[in-house]
Subunit: 769 residues, 2 copies
């Protein structure tokens, strides 16, 4: 754990330069706009330890799989988000000496991520080895308004000399992924060009053939005046730059504004890329940096209006929750159903930037409440469009009749993961995808989605489960053999309660939706039946038989659902009795020892109880929570939020708050010592859930929002917005009670502590404490 | 399955050249002498598909591990046997046109492995693209007498032309392993030299620093006369050759004899390698090819006298069993306790040439009966010497107090494997190592071995098991969680019966040996106690508690030991009811499907019953056999032999024979479609076991050999030799009964069908049928 980030309600601030923190900061200060993003690499050359990262959403490369021992069924490729052309570069020479913070004395270094307005600012003074002193101020952002563009304003002032300052803005396409399996480079150059005031380069990915055109246009202001200096064009392999030599006067600033555009063949015809690029660059350069930045601020202001969570009385918690919301918005804007939310977003390469069940289980609730419903719908459509590949994937594993197994990790629908215990066995992901459909419809009442898309996915998933169970002659019940639950510290177990529960629920829900659509839209239903060769009578009767005869482990003595067969044979030493030196287990213990132990990586039975809370009485929830919580090590970033929500549900406010803290500042304080690889983007949605569903106690019940809030002791108040079926509500929880503002033109009815409250359009009311 | 190998009792014969069979034949016709070995690559250039292979025993390279996802505890390196300098090369030009069977019309091709005398012979006629016709005869061997040497006699006759024949004998050190994880080359050149009649090259392995000097000396006979032609020395990187141009007359033969020496720094001081190499080459060249070959034949004759199994009435079975015995003898001679038996011997790279539990479970019985007891002792000492590393290995996985876990795969004692379910969980190997000590001592009565070495290993293993079990509060018994049994088609299971049984037995046997040594050699025992800090009272009482309270799964209904928890929850469809298209499962099914199924890769419960046969009544054995056999797919080459032995024990002679067939011609007929990677050397010992322990019914009971033989229906007789405590017996089973010849000077007493038979020195007797 680190704590070098300064607390501020709207900003992330680093003061003083410590190279040991640099890669962590590169992650934390990342920028993105849903379409492109980047780590907070320095503009000027930096020879110290750094992780270069520039990403273009949806542009991926199928890297050849690397495994120790091949298992039948492994995918040949692992699609990964590519490190793409680096457009940040502004190299600086001071009388020929390179400005490089790794080789300078650095004073007054400050890095600031302005979350309110969406930009990154950096300032420092540096003294070079040869004694030159300069002050630098750099500001940049990825435009939310014009999401193929970005801009940098870089100002340098010689402090103790007059002389030549050489400024070389560049675009470097000769980059590679740090996680390239065989140290291959993934890009070929297509073409490039330089002009006096800019240049561009078009790169094409190997195999996938995505083309990305990255261009720059720059202007220079010296002593307050725009100048037209002579620039020397430089072209190297996969690299374009313009070298500008300027005579600088001590104390007088030189600024370069670098306008950047980044266009992908996903969104443009390849043959039109260069024309589009040029016109885009001209457009933003004409607009100017300040206007772009003002638009950026306005755009973020609009976002915050809908998204913000305000915490009064705890600036650190305030900063943390805003950081989580900010990063989620930078990662995914919901406008393109081909895109999704990688676990690291645009902040690193790890996990390949691909889609996991995180999206459905954690991100969907966030976007449902904070964004237009089309955003979540696009996340759902992403899976709908990949149904064919999920069916192929299941077929390759021996399933039939249109059964679908969605991949554990994917970019375009094909499976990318290659650990058998995950790829083939962590199949509960299929359930989360069905649950997201359920969640979306319960939230939005968009039944048409079911008829048009959802049911087709549900039946394919139900078909999978109905084949994945097997009949145990010994038990005379259906069993679910060889699975890995959300608790990945168990592999290849039998009858993981969560997976079996979710499987049966999927079949139940599928039957329910069939009944609904058959009634509401018979024609569509029949078309679907034909399309997918669905034999309703035979197939649903098998589902029903499985639902009825599914085996669930239960321990009578403790009154708890058994995480899996044999769980109670393990040595039951609680986490609190584990020596501190053994933690985190995943760094200290060999894998087999972890597997043999009773320790739970992340909510598993409790994840199921969270999903199906209404089915269990409070005592059942309490018994399971009290049993499993002390055995959970929360070594997944996705774990504490679920525990926070359940602790809140059980009235254990102190622990709910404790769990919240573990998730909220995970990256800012580098809890898990891995932020340098990138931020935990998807778990940030869990932080939001901990506040809204935990402290706010928000649920959807019978088509209504329901709140059961409590105020964490340290806070004066907290408030959040939530959009629900045409209404936009602001919920503020304070010592006075629960204040509900209806920000929309539609009347809303909600439950607060179980009592109905009607809030008129544009009105508010207070439910007193 | 292929059947291109001609049947012959003493020879392996291939007639006609089919490039599709070439890599398989390269494996089958491999040569070795325990110290070095090679695949049957052609001498002349071959541009077709080939797997180059020349190996030097004990010379390995730690290749950097390749895994998909790193797990804590994985070893960083995988030691592998190296493809080393290719000394086979004799390149041929015919008036400048290269002789290359991939580009010729090939007639009368014949390859012959003479197992009786230990050499490889090849002859063919070839017509080149330009119409040149030649006849070639090549004979080579790795000397068993002088195990750092080899020789090739290569004769070429121009059939339809007179002209220039250029002969270039060479040594090429620029080779690489096909299974190199990162396409690295593992050898650096140290030095090289050429002389008119030969040359050498010294190569050094990267990282491990083994030096191997490979030299050649050649002589040429033209038209019956040794000639001294002018040779042009050629040196390239990692390559030496001598190019000899000869004027050849149509119909007149030219022969080159290439003498080879291959010396490793394992056996010589590096600085003396070149001197030793030169003197070795001079020595063998002076001896001459024919003398060397005669010595080779004599050496093999001696081996066969002890090793041979004679089958009358079934030439195919005869050929097969001799092939198995031949390859085992080529692989390991037992003279060096630093060496061991790789699963592929010198016939391929696969499995890295490292040591597996195959050695203890399968090879030890073979060598115990067919070789001097020092051979097996050396195999045991190999593990004894690696005890320190086995303790380190266990410590790295969290075990304490001198507990040892021997590696799954090793070259020098460090673990090389990196699949968690194998590396960390297939721990039964530890038991096989203890069992081999038991087996050796029961066979040889060499109790001194226990006092000097064996007990130290046993205690370290017992310590491991005593920590590896865990106490189940639920069961109030010790359980063994998270293991992989011999049946690798189950991973991470609980309470694998075989593993638990073997673990408890290890502790029992350790206690038994402690009692024995305490009495017989108190001083040594006390020295050991001090050396390893053994607290006898506390530690053995824990062992006893575990032995007493160990949990074993048992199914009352079927009366069988349960392979593992939950085995009966699987769908119990028998192998016979599996569609043929689904076989072999490991090529047709995804890994998870295999894991969920009831199918057994290789004897697991039955392996335990085989080990501890005396503990079970015949009905118990039958019930378990009848239950597990129909569920076993025998997709490991190590499986059918155990089933053959148990089937024989149960009097099921037809099935015993059927299982025997599956193992005996595995490589000759390429049953598993993988012989091109190399032969299944260690399972060849299983074939021997199937004959001697299966058909011969041989056991050791109370210090005596016991036989319960039967004669397979198709056979007129079979006979084998077995050495036992100073006696050498020939057992011949025929329709007349069991004939026992005592070939030694010591009286022997054996049991035949339970009745004691005393055979005087150099006498024989017949136990009539």
């Amino acid at each position: 754990m680190k704590d070098y980030i300064k607390v501020d309600e709207w900003k992330i601030i680093e003061e003083g330069f410590d190279p040991h923190h640099h890669k962590i900061s590169e992650s934390i200060f990342s920028l993105g706009n849903g379409r492109m993003g980047q780590r907070a690499n320095f503009e000027e050359t930096y020879s110290g330890d750094t992780l270069l990262g520039n990403y273009v959403a949806g542009v991926y490369y199928p890297d050849k799989t690397r495994v120790g021992w091949w298992k039948n069924g492994y995918p040949e490729y692992f699609a990964k988000v590519l490190n793409s052309a680096n457009w940040t570069i502004i190299d600086i020479l001071l009388d020929g000496e390179q400005l490089d913070l790794a080789k300078c004395e650095v004073i007054d270094f400050r890095r600031e991520l302005n979350m309110k307005e969406g930009y990154l600012k950096r300032s420092f003074k540096a003294k070079t080895a040869l004694g030159k002193e300069v002050a630098v101020e750099a500001c940049r952002f990825c435009s939310m308004v014009d999401d193929e563009t970005a801009a940098i304003n870089y100002t340098i002032t010689p402090l103790n000399f007059s002389g030549t300052i050489t400024i070389t803005p560049a675009i470097d396409g000769d980059v590679m992924n740090k996680d390239s399996n065989y140290d291959e480079k993934f890009w070929d150059e297509v073409t490039k060009a330089t002009q006096p005031d800019g240049g561009y380069i078009v790169m094409r990915t190997k195999k996938t053939g995505f083309e990305v055109a990255t261009g720059m246009k720059f202007s220079i202001v010296q002593n307050g005046t725009v100048i037209q200096p002579k620039a020397e064009a430089i072209q190297k392999e996969k690299y374009v730059a313009s070298k500008v030599e300027l005579q600088a006067q001590q104390g007088q600033s030189i600024s370069i504004v670098k306008y950047v555009a980044n266009l992908s063949s996903q969104n443009h015809k390849p043959e039109g890329l260069i024309v589009q690029l040029t016109s885009t660059l001209n457009r933003i350069a004409a607009k100017g940096f300040d206007t772009m930045l003002a638009e950026q601020a306005a755009n973020w202001a609009e976002k915050w209006k809908h998204n913000d969570i305000i915490i009064e009385g705890d600036a650190s918690a305030q900063q943390a929750i805003r950081f989580n919301i900010f990063q989620l918005n930078q990662t995914y804007t919901g406008e393109d159903d081909r895109l999704n939310i990688g676990p690291k977003g645009f902040t690193g390469e790890k996990y390949g930037g691909s889609t996991y069940w995180d999206t459905e289980a954690y991100c969907v609730p966030f976007y449902l409440s904070t964004a237009d419903q089309k955003v979540t719908k696009n996340l759902l459509l992403y899976r709908y469009k990949q149904l064919g590949k999920a069916i192929e994937n299941a077929a390759s594993l021996g399933f039939k009749n249109g059964a679908a197994l969605y991949p554990m990790v994917t970019m375009d629908g094909t499976e990318c993961h290659n650990e058998w215990e995950i790829t083939f066995e962590e199949i509960h992901r299929n359930g989360a995808i069905a649950y997201a459909i359920f969640n979306y419809v319960r939230y939005t009442a968009d039944d048409a989605y079911l008829a048009n898309y959802g049911l087709e996915v549900l039946i394919a998933i139900a078909r999978f489960w109905s084949q994945r169970v097997s009949w145990s002659q010994a038990k005379e019940q259906y069993v679910m053999l060889g699975v890995t639950g959300p608790n990945e510290y168990e592999n290849n177990v039998n009858n993981n309660w969560y997976t079996s529960k979710l499987a049966a629920w999927c079949m139940e829900y599928t039957i329910e939706v069939i009944e609904k659509i058959k009634t509401s839209d018979k024609a569509k239903y029949e078309a679907l039946v034909n399309k997918i060769n669905f034999d309703e009578a035979i197939e649903t009767s098998r589902y029903k038989h499985i639902i009825e005869k599914m085996y669930y482990g239960y321990d009578e003595k403790q009154g708890v659902f058994l995480q899996q067969d044999g769980y109670l044979d393990k040595e039951q030493i609680l986490v609190k009795d584990l020596p501190a030196v053994d933690r985190p287990l995943n760094q200290k213990w060999s894998w087999d020892r972890i597997l043999r132990s009773c320790y739970i990586k992340q909510a598993d039975v409790l994840q199921g109880i969270y999903f199906f809370e209404d089915q269990y009485d409070i005592d059942t929830i309490r018994r399971n929570f009290d049993f499993y919580e002390p055995r959970t090590v929360h070594e997944s970033s996705l774990s504490p939020c679920v525990h926070a929500i359940l602790a809140a549900k059980l009235g254990d406010e102190a622990r709910a708050y404790e769990f919240y803290l573990r998730t909220a500042r995970l990256d800012l304080d580098d809890y898990n010592n891995d932020t340098e690889d990138g931020c935990h983007i998807t778990s940030m949605a869990g932080t939001w859930m901990a506040v809204v569903e935990g402290f706010g106690g928000m649920r959807v019940r019978d088509g209504k929002l329901s709140f059961q809030p409590f105020l964490p002791e340290k806070w004066a108040s907290f408030s959040f917005n939530v959009g629900f079926r045409g209404a936009l509500l602001n919920i503020k929880v304070s010592k006075d009670g629960v204040q509900i503002k209806n920000l929309s033109g539609n009347e809303a009815s909600v439950l607060v502590h179980g009592k109905e409250q009607v809030v008129k359009a544009n009105d508010e009311l207070l439910v007193e404490a």
